[in-house]
Symmetry: C2
Subunit: 200 residues, 2 copies
DNA sequence: CGAAACGTGTTGCCTATGCGACACAGAAGA
DNA sequence: TCTTCTGTGTCGCATAGGCAACACGTTTCG
């Protein structure tokens, strides 16, 4: 797999978007396990060799897709301490609108009958992301023996976030992405305060 | 505007598909008149210069899209190589299954608040297609001075078909393609009989 | 069992497309 | 009026991606 000089090239972004979209649609249609690289590239109208210029395999594609989601969440401060920035709020809302476009896919990942590999990898990545974020934000907390074990915190927070998202998607008529983003920010902020901020 | 060596190149087909899709979505969203080439290319994630490698302007894109639809219908035996005695019902049903692929777009084109240029061009192209069809099917009718003027017939038939289609798409709960095809077949059959079949 | 048939990765060559720039036109605004 | 801004249409150059072929592993079926 080779890298690209200009990751911002329109062709690169378009190819990645098409492949990701095909991954989601294909997963909904026939399941992630049965999905082949050929299926994805055929649906995306992208040559198979091009797929390997960007991703190692379908698992790599999935993880990169999830990572992109987390990056947006972290930039917006949804994960951890909320720092409201008007500009980034719109991006988060856009993200949830995108998620809402493929509720079946995330339902597959988060629902009760979720694909084994998918849901495991999703929660696992979520936890890792939360871990990395808190290492950046609270570097001193890692060496504090008196606080709760970090793993427990991260597992709890990650699981809470996944459950919240799953709950949102399971609703009959999900509320607007704006409202859900607001709730999620409040939730994550409360959790941050109660678990990470040392009481004075 | 330049031509391409290999029109079957996956990149060419993908680009055209994305642009066409963006045209349809953009037309539904903000109307065909207000739609710019920039809007289309931005939505399609295609460079603006690439647009001009394929189309002259948005009108050219629209016409090529309509032509492709008609070509698909002809390949399916719906318009071309018509058999007047055959089972026309199935052919008409196939037609509406094709149209149902882009319901919003045709709603914009044919509905009461339809864009002026769009609906005009659509009716115009439909009329030309009907003209070609009847030239194939009834070659002797073209030279018959005693029948009604052909233009009048075709205009009437095409306009009737478009109006009926627009009415169908405007319904709250459009009836099944089968039922509507039955009605339309009766209508068109009556028109054909009364205007094209010479009385013995 | 053998042999099609399919999926995975990889490579070298060719080309469609992106990018940046340009001239031009019309519209909005000081 | 003179700017400023946006859209149009075109161009040369650089490159991401298509295509065809390859070796290899796995399923499928006769």
């Amino acid at each position: 797999m080779q890298k690209f000089d200009d990751v911002e090239d329109l062709r690169v972004r378009r190819t990645r978007k098409l492949l990701t979209q095909a991954l989601i649609e294909g997963t909904v249609e026939k399941g992630f396990a049965a999905l082949t690289v050929r299926d994805i590239t055929r649906r995306a109208m992208v040559n198979r060799s091009t797929f390997y210029r960007h991703y190692l395999d379908k698992y790599d594609l999935l993880e990169q897709h999830l990572n992109e989601i987390y990056e947006v969440l972290e930039e917006g401060g949804i994960i951890g301490e909320g720092r409201p920035e008007g500009n980034i709020d719109e991006e988060i809302i856009e993200l949830f609108k995108q998620i809402q476009q493929f509720p079946d896919f995330y339902r597959v990942m988060l629902g009760p009958q979720a694909d084994a590999f998918l849901s495991q990898r999703f929660r696992q990545q979520t936890q890792q992301r939360v871990l990395a974020y808190y290492h950046q934000t609270f570097p001193e907390a890692a060496s504090d023996p008196d606080t709760l074990p970090l793993d427990l915190k991260f597992t709890t927070i990650a699981s809470a976030g996944c459950s919240a998202l799953g709950w949102w998607l399971e609703q009959e008529r999900p509320s607007t992405p704006e409202k859900f983003a607001h709730w999620l920010r409040q939730l994550s902020y409360d959790i941050s305060i109660s678990t990470l901020k040392p009481k004075k």
